[in-house]
Every structure is written in structure tokens, then in C-alpha cells.
């Protein structure tokens, strides 16, 4: 009896260690409900959902990327560049579907280019994307003359601000679709297994007949597509294509994915976890706003919370191991 109790207690602990992001979400939720009276209102929750929608979409692509033991620092500026391109195309009379297609193609091509260079010259993704980040930043400044573009196509506005059936924000619905499809792809398909395998041991994967380089390009293409969609959603949300939003985005995404449970260094990954990771990041900003904490302090506290989450990540592995080895 006693033993049984202990087992279930352990199981609960293991569940939360494995779903740390969920645990953090629950804690933040409770804290904010108690300490503010504006948090648990439909208006605030809706705006929270819309805030994280864009990150949730690119988070799917980035989960695949980290799971395959790669990284992309250029994603933020690539996103900005795609946004600017969508802004420029909005000034023409092209239909929305063309804008969507062009943006997707640009995202896929740029991101695949990164992976191709890494493959071809055997370079670490960190360095290649560090360099490409500057290229994208320069390109977007050239295209926009350094000024934001307003007057976006109404299709883009709809992606960012529209509602389905009058209640569900289009961006949120889109995010959920991405998360769901991403989850199925990563956990059930050949491609998903390839990604996990090359992240876990690329040499063993190659010897077992998995095309490591091709898989890397495919992962990058997927990331590029999510970057493009994210760009449209986030430009639509503020009804303008910004030139300077790129820098912080990547860090937020990496933080969300890692807090969600996909390790840097690859070999495993969870798309659902990434959703909760995005929620954690979103809740930090949202909560600190509600608590009227200055934006500079917000940065500090966001950093600290991410650090804590990562430390928790390392420690939970150890606790988990110890529990397994206990009598």
C-alpha cells in the first residue's frame, strides 16, 4: 500500500519533470490569477493567445531544427525580410494567394540555402546563420529603405487580426493546426524519425541508410515555411511590416523550444512541449505587463526565468536518473 502510494507520487513527479513547461504554465496561471484581477478576463486571455500565435508557428519549425541538432540565428531577420517583401507586394495589385506563395518560397529557399551551405562546406550552422543574419538584415533594409511598410494586403491583416466564426482568432487557429500537424509529423512519420535519428547520432543514422544531408535541407525548408507564415501573421497583427523586430525573436523562440523540452543538441523533440514553452514566454511578458513592471525589468526577469527553466532541465534528468536507480 505504502509502496503503491510512493509509486504514484513518483509518477506525478516524473510527469511534471517531463512536462516542465506545463508545470510553469500552471504556476504562472495561478500566480497571475491571484495577484492581478485583469489576468483572468476573456479579453486578456485572447490577446495572450494572439501574442503567442506567431511564435507557436515558427516554434514548430524550430523544434524540428533543434531536434536535428542544428540551430538558426538568422530566422528573426529572415522573418523580417519576408515581412517586408509581403509589404512591398501589398502595394501591387497581386492577389493574396500570390503574396502567400511568394513569401513561402522566399522563406523555404533562404532557409534551405543555409542548410545547403552547411552541408556543402561542412560548416557549423551557428557560423553560417550568424553570417546570413547580416545578409538578411541588409537585404531587408535595402528593400525597405529602413522604414516600416503599412497598407498591407487585407489577406495579411485577416491572418493577423481576423476571426473564424467570430470567436476564434485566425492566427490562433493557424497555430493550433501547425502544432497538431507538426506533432504528428515528428512523432509518426518517416521524416520525423529521420530528424530524431540524425540529431541523436548522425554517423549511426548515415550508416543505417538515412540521408543526413537531405534531411537537414528538408528540416530547413520546413523551418523556412513556418518563418514565412509567422512573418505574415505577425505583420498582419500590427498591420505593418517592421524592419527591426528580428533580433529578439530568435532568442524567444529558442527559449520557448528548450523550455518546452526539446534539448539543444538534438536527439529528441516535442512539438506539444513547444506550445507550452511559447505559453511560458507569453505569460512572462503578459503577466509582467499586467503587474506594470517596466519593460527593462521584463527583459531581466525573462532572462532569469529562462535560466531557471534550463537549470531545471539539467536537474530533472539527474533526479529522474536517481529515481530510476533507487531501491
Amino acid at each position: 500500500m505504502d509502496n503503491k502510494k510512493k509509486m504514484t507520487k513518483d509518477q506525478i513527479l516524473i510527469f511534471f519533470l517531463k512536462n516542465r513547461a506545463l508545470l510553469l504554465v500552471v504556476i504562472f496561471f495561478i500566480l497571475l490569477t491571484v495577484f492581478t484581477n485583469t489576468f483572468l478576463t476573456s479579453g486578456n486571455l485572447l490577446s495572450l493567445a494572439r501574442q503567442i500565435a506567431a511564435n507557436g508557428i515558427i516554434g514548430v519549425g524550430y523544434t524540428f531544427l533543434l531536434a536535428s541538432d542544428s540551430v538558426d540565428l538568422s530566422a528573426g531577420y529572415m522573418m523580417c525580410m519576408v515581412g517586408i517583401i509581403s509589404g512591398l507586394l501589398s502595394q501591387t495589385s497581386l492577389p493574396f494567394i500570390v503574396i502567400l506563395l511568394v513569401c513561402s518560397v522566399v522563406g523555404i529557399v533562404c532557409s534551405s540555402f543555409n542548410a545547403t551551405v552547411e552541408n556543402k562546406f561542412n560548416l557549423p550552422p551557428f557560423l553560417v546563420t550568424l553570417a546570413m543574419q547580416q545578409v538578411f538584415k541588409g537585404a531587408l533594409m535595402l528593400m525597405s529603405n529602413g522604414t516600416p511598410i503599412a497598407n498591407l494586403h487585407e489577406g495579411i491583416i485577416y491572418l493577423g487580426q481576423g476571426y473564424l466564426f467570430g470567436v476564434i482568432p485566425v492566427s490562433v487557429a493557424l497555430m493550433l493546426v501547425f502544432i497538431l500537424v507538426g506533432h504528428v509529423i515528428l512523432s509518426r512519420t518517416q521524416f520525423g524519425r529521420n530528424v530524431i535519428a540524425i540529431g541523436g547520432n548522425p554517423e549511426a543514422a548515415r550508416v543505417s541508410g538515412i540521408d543526413v544531408k537531405k534531411t537537414r535541407v528538408q528540416v530547413a525548408a520546413l523551418l523556412g515555411f513556418t518563418i514565412a507564415i509567422m512573418a505574415l501573421v505577425s505583420c498582419g497583427r500590427i498591420a505593418s511590416a517592421q524592419t527591426t523586430l528580428g533580433g529578439d525573436t530568435v532568442m524567444d523562440i529558442i527559449a520557448a523550444v528548450v523550455i518546452g523540452g526539446t534539448p539543444m543538441g538534438g536527439g529528441s523533440g516535442t512539438v506539444i512541449g513547444t506550445l507550452f514553452g511559447c505559453l511560458v514566454i507569453g505569460l512572462i511578458s503578459n503577466g509582467l505587463n499586467l503587474l506594470k513592471v517596466s519593460s527593462y525589468w521584463q527583459m531581466v526577469s525573462k532572462g532569469v526565468i529562462i535560466l531557471v527553466a534550463v537549470i531545471l532541465d539539467v536537474y530533472s534528468e539527474k533526479i529522474y536518473d536517481r529515481m530510476r536507480n533507487r531501491d
Partner: protein, 497 residues
């Protein structure tokens, strides 16, 4: 004189008893061998001695005083050092820096590190023990065997009273094994004790004064090696009498399956031609670095050859990648299980199906029912010991991990199976099971290529034998045609071959 006493030590992991009531002594200046199958409890015992894990029950005494190491560095400071089975060197640092790693302070002048001092001290150590490696060399440029020697030198450098060696010879060629023997003899003559773990039983007889045998977490026997026969030792380890170590079956040979002609890779191997028939086991003997692995990697597609032809069942094939090799009916169990074999973060099932899952996909989706079914049947066929298909691969013993690797190769139902050192670091029981698979597959008409640095094994299991040296085929023998001495001299390139 007793230096170490182990009294009634037990260790439980969850409900599994890894060790039960183990007691033995280690005398000063003695070589004590620990023998037993993988999972018998040897590694657990080592980890307890090193302080990596604490015993559930029991006590230990070092030099008569209570010994309760908190961690490996605590053990080290009390005079116990260990040479690990897996190499733990920093590839980008020099040999000397690796030997004295963590003790750079001893080689500083006014706080500045002086490489020359460190190298001189290393050379001194190497000279004293007959190790032939340059202290200045960067470790990543060394061969595996040389790295192993550096690892050994490091363990000695701590002036430990007790040196623990976990399979130190697994990466060494015969020549280097002799150097190691010399080192061990010198250590004992200096009054130090050596605890030695090895699956090569010959080494127990060559080196050890006494032997302790483990089986299923129990100590079966502790006795002097003098007067012990190989058969007795094997039966202690296995718990049964193993009649024939190499149960080679005579199987009718079919048509030629694999034909290799004039395979060439510049600077690595040249003019390699041979054929293997259905049901035949072709052995490759040679020293580490003779080019055997490289030839097989060329055939399978890991590192394609520059020139030459490969024919399977009369059709010429080009294997530019392992994927193509697999498609053309070749599977390979690689030598380096850590680097090219297991994916540590994946479970047993996914490791098993790593070169197979993409063949059972429907519209890109893995058909998990087929995956489960085939994994289960392979578990049964190869009697893999695991707590389940979702167990992490690292929770399996070396022998069972190797069975998973064999299973991975078999799932593709290859026409040609290449096994590169399939029994390295594998216990006696798993070894004979792997030999049984060999027979079973040969009976099913698979053409098998067996590479092994264990000469009795490759001689015992092969129908024909090819000897390689420095990238060339030196000799070909029918079964039982040549003596071990003759093959050995061909491997080494001695006169009178």
C-alpha cells in the same frame, strides 16, 4: 599483505539485485582478474570501488582502514585509479596534457604553463614503461590503440596503489597487448596491485595471479589461476559446460552471391578481389589498421572505393551510400558501436529499426504495428534481454546492445551480411549466441563476411580465411588449412610466411 578487502557487498537497483554478498581480497603486488559475462556484476563492483555508486550493504577496507569513497576523484586521492573501457581523452590537446590533465599546476613557472616541462615528465613516464608515443602529438592524430596507451599512462601517472583496468586490450593489436603486459608486470613489481577485467580469457591466464568469477551478481569462485584450466574457467563463467567454443556448422554452399573485383582506394587498400557464396562464412584476419574495415565500408557504401567492381547475384552494383548498399542486399554490423551503431537517446525498438523503419512506411507514416511486430520477433529470435522495447538502449548490457545491432542488420533480410568485430566487448554467453546466429543465417543462404581481430574466433567460425596486411590481401586459406602461427606471421609480415 591485503591491500583491499571487500566484505559482503550488495547492490540493488530498484528491484534488481546487481550484486549479492560479494567478498574478496586484493593483495599487494598482485594481478586479480574479474571474469564474468556482461551484466554479471563486474562493472557494478568497479563503480562501487570507484565511489560512482554506493553499495546497498556491506563494507570495504583499504589498507586496513574503512573505505567509503564518495566519488571517483575521492577514490583517486585514496590511491585507486581506473582505465575506462571507453576512451576519455581530449582530442584537441597534446598527449602530455592528456596524461597530466587536471594537474597542469605542477608544470607552471610563476603561474605560466610550460609545455616543455610537461612533455619531459611524460617522456620520462613513457620511457619507464616502454610506451612508444610522442608526448607532443595531438591526441586526435593518434590511432585508437595509441589513445588507449595514453589512457593507461594517465592511470599510472597518479601513483595509485591499485589500478583498475576495464577491458584495456579491446582496442589494442597483439604487439601493443605485449606492451601492456609489460606495463602490468612492472606495476606489480613496484608493489602496486592491478584489478583486471577482460572478456579474453587467454589474458586471464597470461596475466592474473588469481581470478574472481561473477555470475548473475553472485561471486562464484575466488581462486589462484595456477592449476585452473580454460574449460573450468568457462564453465564457472557460463554456469554450464560450454562444449565447443566455436560451434561452426558445415553447411552446403550455394552460388556466388557477392563478387568483388580489383577494389581500390588510394592510400588505403588495393587490388582486393574475392567472392562469397550463399551459406558461406568468409573470415578476414589482420591487425588493427590492416584495411579490413575500410574494404567493407567500401563495399557497403560508407566510404565508397575509388575503383573496382562489386557484383551481387551476377548484377553489378554501385554502392555510393549505405542506403544503396542496403537496397542492393548488403547489411553491415559496424565495428564502432558507440559512434556508428547505437543512437543513445533512442529506445531499444527505434535502435533496432533504424535501418528498416523507412521501408515500412505508408504515405510517409511509419506503420507502428509492423514495427512492433518485427521488433518483437527479432527480440525472440536473438533472445535480447531487455525490460521492454521502450527501454533506453544504454540500459542494456554490451552484449545485448550488440544483439540489437545484429537485429538491425537482419531486419533488412540481407543477402550479404558483413560483421565487423561482432563479439568485441561481448561476454561469453552473448558471443556463442552470435556464433549461433552466424550458423542460422548461413543455413538460410546468407553470405557472411566476418572480420575479427580474435584469431581463434575468425579461424573457428570461417569456411575460408583471407589475411590482410597494410591494405593488401596477403594470403587465402581454406578452413583448417593453416596453423594459427602461420596466419599470425602473415598478419605481422614476419619472415618465413
Amino acid at each position: 599483505m591485503k591491500i583491499l578487502e571487500v566484505n559482503n557487498v550488495s547492490k540493488n537497483f530498484y528491484s534488481t539485485k546487481a550484486l549479492t554478498d560479494v567478498s574478496f581480497d586484493l593483495n599487494k603486488g598482485e594481478v586479480l582478474a574479474l571474469a564474468g559475462e556482461n551484466g554479471a556484476g563486474k562493472s557494478t563492483m568497479m563503480n562501487i570501488l570507484l565511489g560512482s555508486i554506493a553499495p546497498t550493504k556491506g563494507t570495504m577496507k583499504l589498507n586496513g582502514a574503512d573505505y567509503q569513497p564518495k566519488n571517483p576523484s575521492d577514490a583517486l586521492s585514496q590511491g585507486i585509479s581506473m582505465i575506462h573501457q571507453e576512451l576519455c581523452l581530449v582530442p584537441s590537446m597534446s598527449v602530455a596534457e592528456n596524461v597530466w590533465i587536471g594537474r597542469v599546476k605542477d608544470f607552471t613557472k610563476n603561474g605560466i604553463y610550460m609545455p616543455a616541462l610537461c612533455e619531459a615528465k611524460t617522456q620520462e613516464l613513457f620511457d619507464a614503461y616502454g610506451i612508444n608515443v610522442s608526448p607532443k602529438e595531438i591526441v586526435k592524430n593518434l590511432t585508437t590503440a595509441q589513445m588507449q596507451m595514453v589512457e593507461i599512462a594517465r592511470a599510472i601517472s597518479y601513483d595509485a596503489q591499485i589500478v583498475i583496468m576495464d577491458e584495456p586490450t579491446s582496442a589494442l593489436s597483439d604487439k601493443e597487448v605485449q606492451v601492456l603486459y609489460q606495463i602490468i608486470r612492472q606495476l606489480t613489481s613496484e608493489g602496486r596491485s592491478v584489478l583486471f577485467i577482460s572478456h579474453k580469457l587467454e589474458e586471464v591466464f597470461d596475466l592474473a595471479d588469481r581470478v574472481v568469477v561473477f555470475r548473475d551478481g553472485h561471486m562464484v569462485i575466488e581462486r589462484a589461476v595456477t592449476g585452473l584450466t580454460m574449460d573450468e574457467l568457462v564453465s564457472y563463467i557460463a554456469g554450464r559446460k560450454v562444449e565447443n567454443v566455436y560451434p561452426k556448422k558445415d553447411i552446403e554452399k550455394g552460388d556466388v552471391v557477392l563478387k568483388v573485383e580489383k577494389l581500390h582506394k588510394s592510400g588505403v587498400y588495393r587490388d582486393i578481389s574475392f567472392e562469397v557464396r550463399a551459406g558461406e562464412v568468409l573470415g578476414f584476419a589482420g591487425l588493427v589498421g590492416a584495411g579490413r574495415t575500410e574494404v567493407m565500408q567500401g563495399i557497403y557504401g560508407i566510404e565508397p572505393a575509388d575503383d573496382g567492381t562489386i557484383t551481387i547475384n551476377g548484377v553489378e552494383v554501385k554502392n555510393r551510400s549505405p542506403r544503396e548498399g542496403l537496397k542492393n542486399g548488403i547489411a553491415m554490423v559496424t565495428e564502432d558501436r558507440l559512434r556508428q551503431g547505437v543512437v543513445k537517446k533512442m529506445d531499444v525498438e527505434r535502435n533496432m529499426t533504424l535501418s528498416y523503419f523507412y521501408n515500412i512506411c505508408k504515405m510517409g507514416f511509419i506503420q507502428s504495428d509492423i514495427e512492433d511486430r518485427d521488433t518483437e520477433s527479432m527480440f525472440q529470435k536473438l533472445s535480447v534481454k531487455t525490460s521492454g522495447k521502450e527501454a533506453p538502449i544504454w540500459s542494456l548490457s554490451g552484449g545485448n546492445q550488440q544483439k540489437v545491432m545484429v537485429g538491425r542488420a537482419l531486419l533488412n533480410q540481407p543477402k550479404v551480411l558483413i560483421m565487423d568485430e561482432p563479439t568485441r566487448g561481448v561476454d561469453v554467453g552473448a558471443k556463442s549466441e552470435i556464433y549461433e546466429y552466424c550458423n542460422m543465417l548461413a543455413e538460410q543462404g546468407v553470405a557472411i563476411i566476418l572480420i575479427s581481430s580474435d584469431l581463434p574466433e575468425v579461424m573457428g567460425m570461417s569456411d575460408r580465411l583471407i589475411v590482410m596486411r597494410e591494405g593488401n590481401i596477403i594470403a587465402r586459406h581454406e578452413r583448417n588449412e593453416a596453423s594459427a602461427e602461420k596466419i599470425m606471421s602473415e598478419m605481422f609480415g614476419l619472415k618465413g610466411e
